[in-house]
Symmetry: C2
Subunit: 138 residues, 2 copies
DNA sequence: TCTTTAACGCAACTCGGTTGCAAATATAAA
DNA sequence: TTTATATTTGCAACCGAGTTGCGTTAAAGA
């Protein structure tokens, strides 16, 4: 039983050929993926509905998390911390490249603590950075 | 010539009945608006294409700016600072209410300066807060 | 008033994502 | 190993936010 099999099992998911490939994609990616990118990478054999449902399942069980996207697409990246179906725990920043439009998780940058303002009860904070990623700086 | 007329003129836009109403909506709103919300507030006489194009024009000329939205809708709020067709200048935080799903501009909270990480060139930063807005705290 | 150009309205379209349902398959129990 | 159950998959059809083309209307400046 490979690592991928084990991870899927631990999260209550079945180890189908497609879901193992999908999970592998996320582990190999240094940034993040959209449903369309998944489809392009894997070839077109898998129906888009299957991709969307697998992404939903992965997110619900804490394998991947949503990251911001430049074009309002739904974009996911692997979870590194102790996420589960109960709760996602992320306090890192995200970086969107103005050139390649990719979104990267920046685990080095933690979200600073923000003091509340005039009656707003802050429960969560997200920090999104924009600029040029290492690959796009000539 | 009312204030609204003057503002539209200063931004190179024509003072039609609809655009005056639209601009007035944004000045009166303490949070932000989507195209659908605009349509609902104004009644159904105005075509959705007209609303979308007016919102685009308002954004391009620096009257309104895009704010994050819980459901990936395109959502706008009035610009308070010195925005123009050349450049939008915003360094305030945005607050999304988990209950009413509205997005508020929090002008009191400025974006902290973020130090770059391992090869990423940071040109802009966005801070989005989530929680309960004043109206939704019972 | 005339001319130019921005704004409007309609219809049709695009595209990311969803829903219903039946068929296939992984998993656990017998 | 076989059987039963629940998950996953694929197809088709659908949904809804936003866009495009184009002809018409109406501001603004001359």
């Amino acid at each position: 039983m490979t690592d991928l099999d084990l991870v899927l099992k631990e999260h209550g998911l079945r180890k189908t050929t497609f879901r193992k490939e999908l999970l592998s994609l996320f582990y190999d990616s240094n940034s993040s993926l959209t449903a369309e990118e998944v489809k392009n990478i894997l070839g077109h054999t898998t129906d888009k509905v299957t991709i969307y449902r697998a992404l939903d399942a992965f997110e619900k069980t804490g394998l991947i998390h949503r990251v911001p996207d430049k074009s309002n697409l739904t974009r996911y990246a692997i979870c590194h911390s102790e996420c589960s179906s109960i709760k996602h725990v992320h306090n890192h920043a995200h970086f969107i490249c103005n050139s390649c439009n990719e979104t990267f998780c920046i685990n080095d940058i933690k979200i600073p603590h923000i003091e509340g303002a005039k009656g707003f009860l802050i429960k969560n904070a997200k920090l999104t950075l924009e600029g040029d990623c290492p690959q796009c700086q000539s």
